[in-house]
Amino acid sequence: MTVYVKFGYTLLGLLIVLNWGFLMGATFRKIGARVAGRYGIPFYQPWLNLLKNISTRTTITHGVMYYIGPVFRLTGGVGLFLFMPMVFTGDPAGLWTNYSFEGDLILILYFQVFGMLGMALGAGQGGHPYSAMGIARGLAQHAAVELPLTLAFLSIAIQYDTFSVYKIVEAQQGGMMNWVLFTNPFAAVTIILAMLGAMGHSPFNLVKAPNEILIGPATEFEGTYLGFMQSAGSILHVMEAVLFMNLVFGGATSWIELIVKTFLIYFWSVFVGMVFPRFKIEQSVTWFFKVPLLLGFLAIIIYSF
């Protein structure tokens, strides 16, 4: 019985995450608009966009992989969600910890790439030269982001001697000074910097830049596929924020805390993106290979000894 209850709670959690992702996206577009002096979109616009996308009548096809691309991306988001403890309640088999287990950090690292690869395959079959170009740029940048990020993750894993996100959260409980932000500042700063790349906001959003190329991988997608992709994107954004919250900012003990913390984490990348133009791919790769990579190495070296 508890299996079904747990499953139900997980589904509920996914629903919350999806809606929070939509709301967060709308809120930040509104913040951006207010900075520019505009009124901005209504907060319910993403739901309407989803409805409209689903109600599109035309469907085009470029082959099987083209369908599977958005599905892969959604799988990446949902997979990230499934193995991530959302709310810390003190019970490892708690209802909001989803299916977290020993070693899920490695699985999470894998799922981060999974969505990107799915997109690469789908967009590749789309056949548009801009899609291919966007994918090439996206994968290059993703590799550059992943490197410092993985080093920081490893440093945290060495620090707490575990690959379980749940245990890392558990170890950070009991006050702000136990957070990784203070106990392992090098890894924390690495993650905070690499986060900018992982979130895909300016200055690291050349992948989907409308000026430099069209909108990259999504060029050929329309209607339902696009709706799928945007939903997957919302889930991914929240889950990335939850991941960084769990690893660096001490996790959350309630949904309210989760919402506040993810909001602030996401706000950091939007805050930077608002006032900085975007890098070219080689420039962003160079940027990630300088300070964040060095800090990542330092974090590893310090905790290896």
């Binding site: 209504p42 309407l48 409805l51 409209k52 909108i215 329309e222």
Partner: protein, 240 residues
């Protein structure tokens, strides 16, 4: 000139142009796009026709709306989320930047810009169309997913405006693609554009913005008109 005279003149012109087109037909397709036979890697000979790729031969089909309340609900969603293609076809596109900036801000009405035709469902024809652009507009329009809407900006899309006697610009847009909303003026103010969007929303909510189906229904007529003025027709008849 009365309507009757005009119709007579138009039919005469059509006759004349048909002969013109048939005379000068073949020369415009570039050599690499011509229909020809090539030798495949295994030695067999196959025919290729580069400008007809594998799904462009299909005619557009009418896509019937759903029934009753479902369609009403979907129409409401469509009306509140209009994605406009970022393709400035004429000088009217100078009034698009004010629309997305603080003064007029069309985002608050759910109108947003998208860069590719695949993801947009409204197309602002911003002013006069030269024949060269019309060709691109037709291709773009056909790639947009149905239901799709056209807003025609400026008097030059209605009757040619001040370019009525130009050899390069078309006179009536609705002869080539179906138009949902005309916004008159030269050039229309941003407020007029916003009013046009409001009108479009009304039409969508009332279920009257079904011009994509009209295009499919009268496909032959539209194609004949298009081919009459695009003398170098070197693209598929329909692409999606």
């Amino acid at each position: 000139m009365s309507e009757k005279d005009m119709n007579y003149k138009v039919s005469q012109m059509l006759k004349r142009s048909e002969t013109n087109v048939s005379n000068a037909k073949k020369s415009f397709v570039r050599p690499e796009d011509e229909e020809r036979e090539v030798v495949a890697p295994d030695g067999s000979i196959m025919k290729v026709n580069p400008i007809y790729d594998y799904f462009s031969g299909k005619r557009p089909e009418e896509e019937k709306p759903k029934n009753g309340i479902v369609e009403k609900f979907l129409n409401w969603a469509r009306a509140e989320s209009i994605w406009v293609l970022g393709f400035g076809t004429g000088c009217g596109s100078i009034e698009i930047p004010p629309l997305v900036t603080p003064r007029f801000d069309m985002f608050r009405f759910g109108v947003q810009m998208r860069p590719t035709p695949r993801q947009s469902n409204a197309f602002i024809i911003s002013g006069y169309l030269s024949v060269k652009t019309l060709k691109r507009v037709i291709r773009t329009y056909e790639q947009m997913p149905s239901p799709k809407y056209i807003l025609a900006l400026g008097s030059c899309t209605i009757n040619g405006g001040m370019y009525y006697d130009s050899y390069s610009t078309i006179n009536r847009l609705d002869k080539y693609i179906p138009v949902d909303v005309y916004i008159a003026g030269c050039m229309p103010r941003p407020e007029a554009l916003l009013a046009g969007f409001m009108k479009l929303k009304e039409l969508i909510k009332a279920g009257k913005a079904e011009k994509a189906n009209e295009y499919a229904r009268n496909f032959d007529e539209y194609k004949a008109n298009q081919k009459k003025i695009i003398k170098d027709w070197n693209m598929p008849d329909y692409n999606w």
